[in-house]
Subunit: 219 residues, 2 copies
DNA sequence: CTGGATCCCTCACGATACTG
DNA sequence: CAGTATCGTGAGGGATCCAG
């Protein structure tokens, strides 16, 4: 454990000692999407120094959150994946991400989105109850990130890359978040050119119901 | 923000920049129990340096998580409380605490429990569905910490101090966690003297159903 | 007494370079 | 590809001091 102990016999303290170090939960976030190699993690976290990534992976392995597998054949390569215990963090990561998304304005200069961060963002804003009985698919183009969401009766599947035959193709930047947060209406967004649609524009109304960021509570 | 940005336009990154610094979520945990003064927070977090507590409170205030109120009368005193946005972290704190509690063994030397940490631990392990239609009260004595839980049809109220007339008084140390985690049965615990009961011992069986720490998932 | 501010020291973090 | 080595900086830790 790198940081010293908090000195408390308490679940939260122990959790913070496992995954509370800088970068740790972002690594978990990316591994929740799928297992990855060292270099994949680097690509998803461009600002992390390699020694820090290395250190975090070791700590997470020691804490039983990550499992390191050495694939012997073709090329000697290493794969990091979450253990079942690590996967049990999904709910926390999703909820914490949604909490942060509530207060998120425009991107700061230099801030990027990654395919994994958007994947988890879509998962965290997804409302199964709003998607019950619904069968629809979207392709998202956010800058150079392209990914797709397939919704089928309360379940969500987020896939990397385009989706030929998607019901609606949505091209946007951070305006997509403002839409999901209800800060702008779909009509406004289309009218002002904040998003570009290919397909039935009415699909955007449904999108903001299915993917929703709640407002900051006032009480 | 003390730590540098993660450089990602992502809810989780933003959340980590708000409450991801060392000690921050423990401060939030204690404030979730009730508003507190600087010195109360110090008492609940004995290992936190005062400059760090000071810095965290400022950062949390800036992030809209904590509100600082100066009470003018009697003595000039300052009260810190969560904003509604900060209170929206309750769910995350509870779940993260429960996640950490799954893998928690015995206390490390020097580790303490505080009344607030136990309060939140009880809240995080509470299963409303197991308490439906139930009306029962417990007094817990854990070392020098005494607190009580009043359960009434799916709702839980945790109070500091003893509870005269409680249905069951439970005196234990960290064995209480092992009980809630199902690592020992109530019968074992009583037999081996791990807990001391005052009241109907059958109440302990109900306790471990109502307050439950799930096992570490194996898949 | 509360609510901090200040000082100093250390180590974790971050940037860069380099290697099996 | 998957890290390790090196090194500078600044946040965290601990003790002390100070104002209301």
């Amino acid at each position: 454990m790198t940081g010293r102990s908090y000195g408390q016999f308490c679940g939260l303290s122990r959790a913070m000692e496992s995954v509370g170090e800088r970068w740790a939960l972002l690594i978990v976030r990316d591994l929740l999407v799928r297992p990855k190699r060292f270099t994949d993690l680097r690509r998803g976290l461009p600002r992390i120094p390699t020694n820090i990534l290395s250190a975090r992976l070791k700590e997470l392995e020691l804490a039983g959150v990550v499992h390191r597998t050495v694939l012997p054949r073709p090329a000697a390569s290493v794969v990091y994946e979450l253990t079942p215990y690590g996967r049990a963090l999904e709910d926390v990561v999703l909820r914490l991400g949604l909490w942060g998304a509530m207060a998120m304005g425009a991107p700061e200069p230099g801030e990027i989105a990654t395919i994994d961060s958007v994947t988890m963002a879509l998962r965290s804003t997804f409302r199964p109850e709003a998607a019950a009985g619904l069968s629809v698919s979207y392709e998202f183009r956010l800058g150079d990130i392209v990914l797709s969401a397939v919704i089928d009766d309360g379940t969500l599947n987020v896939l990397p890359g385009p989706l030929p035959g998607a019901d609606l193709v949505v091209e946007a930047g951070h305006e997509l978040r403002a839409l999901m947060a209800g800060e702008v209406t779909p009509a406004e967004a289309v009218e002002k050119g904040m998003v570009t649609l290919t397909g039935d524009p009415a699909g955007l109304d449904r999108l903001v119901e299915v993917f929703h960021i709640p407002p900051i509570p006032s009480t």
